[in-house]
């Protein structure tokens, strides 16, 4: 690394310092030991957090070819032959980061939940679908990072169990505006049946995921595989993917609560209209 630079930039880390072969991964000294004489300044700290958060993208974080965000969501709403799936179990998602494996970040990093690293790993990657085990923790789990998901052009669903196991979550590239959706088809929460002190053994959820509409303005010619401008054809409504009109699995109580809240809101609204009329 050039003199005076303690924390490399993404460019220096993922492109300049790497060899042509994919392995081994080069790592700066600050990754292993924090014996720097002077404290890291704010810019260096933010740069280090960016390095941590980009580790699933690698050099593509610099090249910018697969960095999905809400701004370029329409570029990725197009057909692909491949489907990328990321399977994660990172433990408690809101864990405080460390420098060099043991040194603490300054207090302003530790106390602000927006300066975490692990939630970014869920969204900052090249996958179309992300499956997350252990999606909950004492700080709200992954669900508190809804804005982050939106920022990276993803929608998700977190399934909380009524047993003692951790929550599961799933995320897909897309947005409700372009027709992407997630449905819960089945929920399996299983505890031991023949123990004096039952404990959970399996937690599973079955999802239906729709990628949404093609808004890129391009179609793939099925005979040649070449992307062509969108032809002027009418939408085939009969064969398009439809969302079910009501929740499907194990969320009967949630559904009833929503119905109750809806009816209460209607009553309040009617009452207000009556008062206004008087």
């Amino acid at each position: 690394m050039p003199d005076g630079i303690r924390i490399p930039t993404l460019q220096q880390h993922y492109l300049d310092a790497q060899e042509d072969t994919p392995l081994p991964i080069w790592r700066p000294e600050a990754y292993f030991k924090y014996t720097l004489t002077a404290e890291l300044d704010t810019e260096e700290i933010l740069r280090l957090l960016e390095l941590f958060r980009s580790c699933l993208l690698g050099k593509r974080a610099v090249q910018g070819v697969v960095k999905h965000t809400k701004d370029n969501i329409h570029e990725f709403q197009r057909d692909t032959y491949q489907l990328g799936i990321l399977t994660l179990n990172l433990g408690h998602i809101n864990r405080v980061p460390f420098i060099g494996g043991c040194s603490k970040f300054p207090k302003w990093v530790r106390t602000d939940i927006n300066h975490r690293v692990l939630p970014h790993l869920v969204f900052r990657n090249a996958a179309h679908i992300v499956c997350l085990c252990e999606a909950s923790d004492d700080y709200g789990g992954i669900a508190v990072h809804r804005k982050l998901a939106k920022e990276y052009g993803m929608i998700g669903m977190v399934v909380h169990p009524s047993i003692q196991s951790q929550s599961l979550a799933i995320f897909i590239r897309g947005d409700h505006d372009v027709g992407s959706f997630i449905e819960l088809l089945g929920h399996h929460q299983i505890e031991t049946g023949n123990k004096t002190n039952p404990f959970w053994i399996l937690h599973g959820a079955i999802f239906r995921l729709c990628h949404g509409q093609n808004t890129s303005g391009e179609f793939v010619d099925p005979s040649t595989g070449v992307r062509i401008p969108k032809p002027d054809v009418e939408k085939n409504v009969e064969s398009m993917v439809h969302q079910h009109c009501r929740p499907l699995a194990t969320i009967r109580w949630t559904f009833l609560i929503i119905q109750f809240v809806k009816s209460m809101a209607m009553m309040i609204l009617q009452f207000q209209v009556l008062m206004y009329a008087k």
Binding site: I85, L88, P97, C131, A169, G179, G186, H188, C210, H211
Partner: protein, 232 residues
Amino acid sequence: MNPGADTHDVRRLLLAECRLAVFHISSYAWSHAYQETCQKWLNFIASSVEHQCDFLSGDGNLFAQQSFKSDDHSDFRTSILIDILERFLQQINLHRSPINRITYNVVSSTTAADYIRSMSGDDADCDSMILISLCYGKQIAVTEARAKEDSASADGFSGSAFSDEILLNDVEQLKHLLPYDVGLAEKDCAWHSPLITFAQLKSLKNMRIRSRESEDKRREKWMQRNQGYLEK
């Protein structure tokens, strides 16, 4: 365009929608509820097949690493989760025509080096995140490919359900990440290696989606080569 297909949905892996099961099996269950967990896993995969799930993904803990408690060495391909899945699909395939059979493929977050070590019976640091793909032949390309195959199952023997009809390409580099790379404490053991996988149909293996510009460039290149051959 196929008149029966919708032209406005995004298709990945030739599907506008996919179904995916996420699971997490307790590590405590390996030593205290092995048999019951195996039974429940069977129920779970039966439910997943009933819902036509294309992928099963999650943390199988020791169930995704070993076959039996007494085994010293196993690997994710012969683990009890896959063993049960294999036997379940074999039974289903016995009652299906070859063209409608269900096949599976699997990848794990275990590094290649550790997988080889475990295969040869040495101690290996295996990881437990797995991704299983189930192929029902939903895509026309798969059905066509199956129709061209010579089948050994016409006489009732269906063989192994394992197949690479769906190719699973996992990224090896991410399996080598250390706690330092993600800013965790060096003794942090509460996380598993990320498993990123790109699924692709074998029948589309050598096919590429190209932009108009790259297709023109490719054609031009081949025309130049052909011209060169003619001149020779």
